[in-house]
């Protein structure tokens, strides 16, 4: 009888939880030489989602790359999740993906059909995004890994940066949170089928429709929520914008079971790392401990976090609702102050 392969068993950390911690990264990246070019509109200094290079007054290219270890056992689904996640960085910059290349690491002794399924899942998502898959690179490795390098395009005046939010802005998130915790519960074989299905649906939903829905509104700042969790990505936005962000934990949409699994101790190590990294900015107030864990949960292929002026927030929310994204949109908080230092405040109303 053929042995069933559990892809996640190959990986110590799955998905975006496999990211190298923000503390380590900033230390190492700080030592790299600085590059400058008048046409480089977004580089890595602001920890944004992708680089943007201006070609002329109407066109800028977005360049990004993302890959990780298996986060689900099914190869086709893993391919979909990894591709959705990689394409997301282009949407988070306000752009449209155009060209994608596969990045593949795969063990020599595993059935090549598994790799075929991973690539098919990725290709289907590239097609759904309206981009073209033009090749890639593969190497032998003990732990399977998959992702994409993506080139996208955006009008230079329509780039979404991860900073620029202002006092009064409403923070809207286009997907519910909890995929890191649910994936941990799945690994422990303690997740309900409903939670598992929900996490997979969320992780395989492209941020394409969300971006297209909001593109004609005013967006002060945007990023996609991935490995650093809502807390980590809000910290980056708060620091880069010199703003205090207030997160209303009771208003945030969580995946079914996420709170319960967090209370059981099914929390990925990355969540604790994200908490440590944000500690200097974070005021947890009197919120229950479980919410601190939930906002820190590393997301795989999370939604777009949008800072929208209060006057347009209602309309943006209605438009997102009409667009029927297939995920839960929620108002996660607001920008409480700007111009007087950065911070994150958790509020449990």
């Amino acid at each position: 009888m053929e042995k069933e392969i559990h892809l996640t068993q190959f990986a110590k950390h799955g998905g975006c939880a496999a990211k190298i911690g923000p503390d380590t990264l900033s230390k190492v990246l700080g030592r790299l030489p600085k590059f400058s070019d008048p046409n480089l509109l977004v580089g890595f200094e602001t920890s944004d989602d992708a680089a943007v290079y201006k070609i002329n007054d109407d066109v800028a290219v977005i360049q990004t790359l993302d890959f990780f270890t298996p986060v689900v056992d099914d190869p086709y689904t893993f391919g979909q999740v990894a591709a959705t996640n990689a394409l997301s960085d282009v949407y988070a910059m306000g752009g449209e993906p155009k060209i994608a290349l596969n990045i593949v690491c795969f063990p020599e002794n595993l059935d090549p059909d598994i790799l075929g399924e991973i690539l098919r899942g990725g290709a289907d998502k590239v097609r759904e995004a309206g981009a073209v898959l033009v090749g890639g690179h593969s190497i032998q490795d003990d732990v399977p890994k998959y992702g994409l390098s993506v080139m996208g395009m955006v009008h230079p005046d329509k780039i979404y940066k991860n900073f620029g939010c202002r006092k009064g802005d409403v923070l809207i998130l286009t997907k519910q949170l909890g995929s890191g915790i649910i994936n941990t519960a799945v690994k422990a074989q303690m997740a309900s089928a409903e939670s598992e299905r929900e996490a997979i649906r969320v992780m395989t939903t492209l941020n394409k429709k969300a971006k297209e829905t909001v593109q004609n509104f005013t967006i002060h700042a945007c990023t996609d929520v991935t490995g650093f969790g809502l807390l980590g990505h809000c910290s980056e936005m708060a620091s880069a914008s010199d703003a205090v962000i207030e997160l209303h934990v009771k208003d945030i949409a969580w995946m079914h079971g996420a709170k319960e699994y967090a209370q059981m101790g099914l929390i990925p190590g990355g969540a604790y790392r994200n908490q440590r990294h944000a500690a200097a900015l974070l005021d947890t107030g009197d919120v229950e401990e479980v919410y601190v864990d939930l906002v820190s949960d590393p997301q795989t292929s999370g939604g777009l976090l949008l800072a929208v002026p209060e006057s347009e927030a209602g309309e943006v929310l209605r438009a997102l609702e009409r667009a029927d994204l297939g995920t839960e949109v929620s108002v996660v908080g607001r920008v409480a102050e700007s111009g007087a230092g950065a911070g994150i405040r958790l509020v449990q109303k």
Partner: protein, 69 residues
């Protein structure tokens, strides 16, 4: 006292073994783990079972002593 040696294991295994032990044993349980975040997950698991605990640092990680139910 029942002892769970989860040193060197990666998440969520330490929590899974703790959960199993707490379900099977209403008496005191001692859990050994290597990493701080595993200690925190084991503590949460104990709390979720309504059990009191005391954690200490050991030479190669942490010990979480969980009181009887």
């Amino acid at each position: 006292m029942r002892e769970v040696d989860a040193r060197g294991l990666s998440c969520p295994e330490p929590m899974m073994l703790t959960e199993e032990a707490l379900k099977a044993d209403k008496g005191a349980v001692r859990v050994l783990v290597s990493e701080p975040h595993q200690k925190m997950n084991v503590e949460k698991c104990a709390k979720d079972h309504g059990r009191k605990f005391t954690s200490t640092e050991t030479d190669d990680g942490f010990a979480v002593e969980i009181e009887p139910a």
